[in-house]
Amino acid sequence: MIDSKLWFWTSPVWLLVAVLLIAYLAFARGRSRTQLAIFLLGLFALTMAFVSPVGVLADGYLFSAHMVQHIVLLLVVPVCLLLSLPTKEASKWFDRPRLDRVGRWLSIAAVGWICGVGAMWFWHVPVLCSTAAQRPSVGILRDLSLVLAGIAFWWPIYAPCDRYRLHPLSGIAYLFSACLGCTLLGIYITFYPLTVCPVFASPVDRLGIVNSLYNAGLTPRIDQHLGGLMMWVPPCAIYICSIISLLCRWYSENDYHRETQLISEPIATSGV
């Protein structure tokens, strides 16, 4: 019984997913199979963040589920979106002066860092956290801002054009400091003796599942504990994976000339 209640099949996120998919298929010419797969993975993550029990429980029941949703929106979906952009087509887009200006602005490390880490901290100020969970309009604003902040955060690492990317070593410092940022937030939430997000401490039980959650051991105290740990450990694991990718990029960059030559040459794509 509970299982069916935990899925929200009629979520409006489907609309967004459909629009994104159509836009991608229409505009992202020259994409490779891998890029399409990454894009679909991103859409899947986005859908699951709202349709699956994570989304349902994040809606006022479990702080830890809210954290999972938060991480997916901020760290997973934006990476997938950026990595799915076909390099050649994207560099054509960003040759236009206006878009190039945006690209360059986003490539400033401080901008991305403040957006990414700031979004994490900002939405956990107790008042904002509760309001976002109670009012759908603020909730949508939060979710949207998380995805956008995520794009800004990952831009200096995975921007489709090389010129917007940080040097790999600077990228490592960027990600490591972000990891410290979310570690501090995670520690704070985990060990904070009071409720960080009051709405989760006394959920409005519209689905009639609170008791079964409590019986399963997910009391508000433990829930917040888990939420803090979710903010602490998985994001750092994501950053570490990304750092590994940067290290690979750094060690495999042969000489500079070859690299620039590769960029100027048309890259053959398998096309889908």
Binding site: P126, L169, I172, F176, C179, L180, T183, L184, I187, Y188, T190, F191, Y192, P193, L194, I222, H225, L226, L229, W232, V233, C236, A237, I240, I243, I244, L247, C248, W250, Y251, S252, E253, N254, D255, Y256
Partner: protein, 742 residues
Amino acid sequence: MSTELIGQRETSAAESSWGILSWVTSVDHKRIGMLYILLAVFFLVVGGFEAVLIRIQLSIPNNTFLSPEVFNQLFTMHGTTMVFLVGMPMFTGFSNFLVPLMIGAKDVAFPRLNAMSFWMLPFGAFLLYFSFLTGSAPNAGWFAYAPLSTKPYSLGPGIDYWIVGLIVMGIGSIAAAINIVATVLTLRTPGMSLQRVPLFVWIMLMQAMLIVITIPPLNSALALLCVDRWLEAAFFEPIRGGSALLWQHFFWIFGHPEVYVFALPAFAMVSEIIPVFSRKPIYGYAFVAGSSTIILLLSYGVWAHHMFAVGLGTGANIFFSAMTMLIALPTGVKIFNWTATMWGGSIRFTTAMLFAIAFLIQFVIGGLTGVMFAAVPIDWQMTDTYFVVAHFHYVLIGGIIFAVFAAIYYWFPKFTGRMLDERLGKWQFWLWVVGFNGTFMIQHFLGAMGMPRRVYTYADNPGWALFNGISSFSVIFMVLGTLVLVWNVVKSLLKGELAGNNPWDAYTLEWATTSPPPEYNFKSLPEIKSRRPVWDKGHPELADWKSSKTPEDRGRRPDRAKVCGWTFVTSEAVFFVLLLATYIVFNVRHTGEGPTASTALNVPRTAVFSLFLLASSLTFWLSERNLRAGRHSASIRWLGVTILFGIIFLCGQAWEYAGLLTNDIYIDSNLFASTFFTVTGFHGLHVTAGLVALGIMFVLGRKNYLTKEHSKPFGAIGIYWHFVDVVWIFVFAIIYLGVFQP
């Protein structure tokens, strides 16, 4: 083609001689490196002697050779000595000696700072060991768990000596690490891109970075313990509202990465030795280097696995367990790299190689028992037993000390110009293999049988006497092995075979110069086109750069003053983060009597004074800009204004303090007062230090010594000054505005 580097450096008369004074006054990285190593060896003997006493006491059940008090002091001093006076200086010594040579530099980036870093160490050691003369050496374990280490439970001065000694040594270690970071980043010879540095250099860079961020948590904890013990605060006294667990958190935030501070150099050493004696380049350079970076990043997130038994909650245990298992991956990768390097190589079983191979095997055993401890239930069962003792001795001796022995045999010819005797070396090797495994392997079983650690004796339980006897008896082999090493060193120094430049036909730049190297290090350097320049020079037809390309050096080198500034500030930032965390922990919810931030502080007044501090950043920036543009007098004027603003801010703080003290709010009043005075006090101290630095610059400027050419060091002071201001923004937000209050 070679880069001529012939002696541009002035050689003073004192440095060219070999008298004691020349060693004391030396700023040459090689001599300082050797001083570090000699000091480490001396304390290895001292710490080893303490271990021998411990093992004599434990050799038979119900022994009364040592009293419980002396036993506690000995295991505390043994641990502290081995960590801070053997491990840290040993690796800093090797790093000091070898890193500049391997990157083709003439010295480290800051030679005088280097000498200061070293001399802090004997000073700290003296403080630590002086405690024996007071009759109460530290006795709370090397981890000094609170509340045992607080005043009510440790009245004597032992812990105080421990605290001060560790702070002094910690400052020296951070300074040395900053030096290594700056050296590697700024002084590499042309052609040596960061992707081409020898693995030793890269891993030591990672280790230095790790020291920079890992010592400050210890310093924070020590500072708090100091305030507890000397000023009667109660950070770590649960009975007065403090938290004993906070000490454990802070200590292990330092303590766990510290394990990697030791492990990384051992990895660095064997990563040089195994390829040379396998006659092959390292298998998977990028994997070894990259995984060291990952270790650096992950090591900071696993400290709580030392605390599974304190009741952090199932969630925390699971996450930390997973993280701990994760960190085994980058370490495990290296084992495969080293094994694969040996695979198919033409291996020369020199003493150095034998020690390196034994390192591999024993480190794997220590690592695997470490992974066992990552499983929470096993940890609960085994924690505080001899299984733990066996585990970390397999890592620290079987792994790390064996790697150090390998390194001694490998680099001794470079250090002294003479070879160590291989026959004696093999005697030492086998004595140590037998002694080490005999002593510690059996302790796994003792631990599994339930023998607790840190207890001065044990009952005559079945099997315990025999196993302990074997363990204690085996120590004799290690002692004999050490004597063989000492004899070998003395004999080789007197009449050892001459080494020549490159006795092992090795690959990296230190072998391109004479043994021992001249003071200026190199007469000429081979061209750097790959990771093995000396190999390329000796075997041009098989040169690495012909078969495998590595990223070219683009010649970019950051300014050393800037690197120093940023690294120092990073270290200080960690220190303040922990102090501020302490404030948050104790002030989230006001419980009990006494003042609080909202009742005791005058926020608007402090806000006004804060504006002066923030404005001083702006004025400093103007001063710096004018200096760069060559407008000397304007620069000095703005510098003067900066100092004035800083002083006004300090006056504001003094006013605040005076107000609190007249209202009978002292540092020991309650936890709010303790945290408030500690955080703002340390910040004030930093502002004062900044003002002293700015004052020196001001005086130099007035005498026209501060010119455009000095804008970079001036900028480094600026980094510090801006940092102090940024810290204040956080202090003000957290303490005065109470952003974390509900």
